[in-house]
Symmetry: C2
Subunit: 320 residues, 2 copies
């Protein structure tokens, strides 16, 4: 366990970000990690409310994540999917039989008027997760991916079309009316966080929806807690998912520098330190020239030890 | 195959009635059996529209029924239920993983505005069922069981409370506004049915909801097709389910005679012939005294051959 005196706020999407979140949870005292999770990927499918990033985080933090698939639950079965396939129903979004319980449960709770944040807190408790997991908002925000094949809801782009369409931009429907998670906003006002860590998640579809919630990024910037970002791009490639492909299609430099430029241009003054992989050391100066500090470490997390190492690095950053 | 020249209409609830329906389907040419199925047991559970009797019929007729359990699907798994149990959700109504696909599929179809009858026709087709399966109505009818423990929705009485509360009566909420299945009504007007068979289902909670739909039993009485009933009570016991217990609690004679009295009193002139088990021969005259014919045969269906035998008997009744 590290020497963190104050709670840590981590902004995260799904799989990539959940790796660092797991490392952070391992290194902090129970309850010290507060994860603010993207819900722009949430959608209604087969009549069920699906929150993919929240579930990935909860399953990862509770030790239930399927290491082989990279999503869903360990030891999952697929009988309902087989049944739906036999009925000619849509099966491109795979819902495992045990995972299905989560969706049925949450959909019922939401229908009964429970807020997504309250559902998430209860689900975390039921799964034995001691970290605090907060949806970025209780209000619906829908990430739309603008592509050469038309505008696609995120999961259609990501899962159904396997990120194949060429991307030209993104929009987050509903975001201007969405209020950021009130618990996180309250704690930011109370200066309760010792540091803010932006996980190595996709900048465009995982982190931007969070930061662009009205008032959120300014609250982070105005908070005394330093904001650290881990680059999701290492050696010109995304550690996970379509970030590199998107950057290329958007005409950006596919590199940690490209990511740093994106964050610095969109959220001026927000980032205190940009953490890049040692292999990307040559671009450190160019990033510093954007007005942020740079720290180098090994950012590729394969083993549980890797996750803890990077977490420790992030928690030691800037001195204790 | 028998000599039936015209289509046969069978009124049925779930398990008990489905046995005879299967025998009838075996003995008739494909498409000749028209089953009009109780939907008073339908309910919304975990956000899903469940039609237990329709599913029992479709699973039985398609050879998928679980012979051991007496309900649900053969080879079923229960992962979602285990997941829901871990989340502290209601699990008294057991939904198997493959069965779940049916409920998800139908709930989606209904939400999209498809009528229950159209859903059922498509589901039957997808499952390879050649018989026509009609929900008694596309409009919602809710069977309520009045008991010493208060008024209970049917599935709460039947499944959750395992038929333990003492019954004092029944009501079918919504029935006065519910229109009987229009296809069956049309065929009755066209005199398309050669005979009508009331299966050995529960008279109070499976057959009464069907017969009490506005205009239905009078249409059956006015149709030239004879109406035959198979008694669900044999030797003072129900072949399946709580019919005998209900009759006892309602102060009725727990016998085929009691069932005959019920049908003759509620639907005067409807029944042409009442079919009872040979073991109940002593009450034949008392039933005839109610003004209906009586036929005796073996009505207990254990094997597939038993079902076919009783079906053949029902199809031969009254001459060809």
């Amino acid at each position: 366990m590290t020497i963190a005196q104050q709670d840590v706020l981590a902004l995260t999407g799904g799989v990539g970000g959940a790796k660092l979140a797991l490392g952070l949870a391992d290194m902090l005292a129970p309850g010290q990690l507060h994860a603010l999770v993207n819900t722009g990927d949430d959608f209604t499918h087969l009549g069920l409310h699906i929150s993919p990033d929240i579930d990935t985080l909860l399953y990862t933090l509770s030790g239930r994540a399927n290491a082989t698939l990279g999503w869903g639950l360990e030891g999952e079965t697929w009988q309902t999917m087989a049944g739906l396939e036999a009925l000619g129903a849509q099966t491109w979004f795979r819902l495992g039989d045990t995972d299905m319980a989560t969706h049925l449960w949450r959909t019922q709770q939401l229908k009964a008027g429970t807020r997504l944040s309250a559902c998430t807190t209860e689900l975390a408790s039921l799964l034995g997760v001691t970290s605090h997991v907060f949806p970025m908002s209780d209000d619906p925000v829908q990430t739309t991916v603008h592509t050469g094949a038309g505008d696609l809801p995120f999961q259609h782009y990501f899962v159904r079309d396997q990120c194949e369409p060429v991307v030209s931009g993104f929009s987050f429907d509903g975001i201007s009316a969405a209020r950021p998670n009130r618990e996180v906003m309250r704690r930011l006002q109370q200066k309760a966080y010792g540091r803010v860590i932006i996980c190595p998640s996709n900048p465009f579809v995982s982190i931007d929806p969070i930061l662009q919630l009205p008032g959120l990024w300014m609250a982070l910037r105005n908070s005394p807690a330093p904001v650290y970002v881990v680059s999701p791009i290492v050696g010109g490639k995304a550690l996970k998912g379509p970030a590199a492909k998107m950057m290329n299609e958007l005409g950006m430099d596919v590199s940690a520098l490209g990511v740093a430029r994106h964050y610095c241009a969109r959220y001026p003054g927000l980032i205190d330190c940009f953490v890049i992989d040692q292999g990307d050391a040559t671009m450190a100066q160019a990033i510093r020239d954007l007005g942020v500090e740079v720290a180098l470490t090994s950012t590729v997390m394969k083993s549980r030890a890797d996750k803890r190492e990077l977490a420790r690095f992030m928690l030691d950053l800037g001195g204790s």
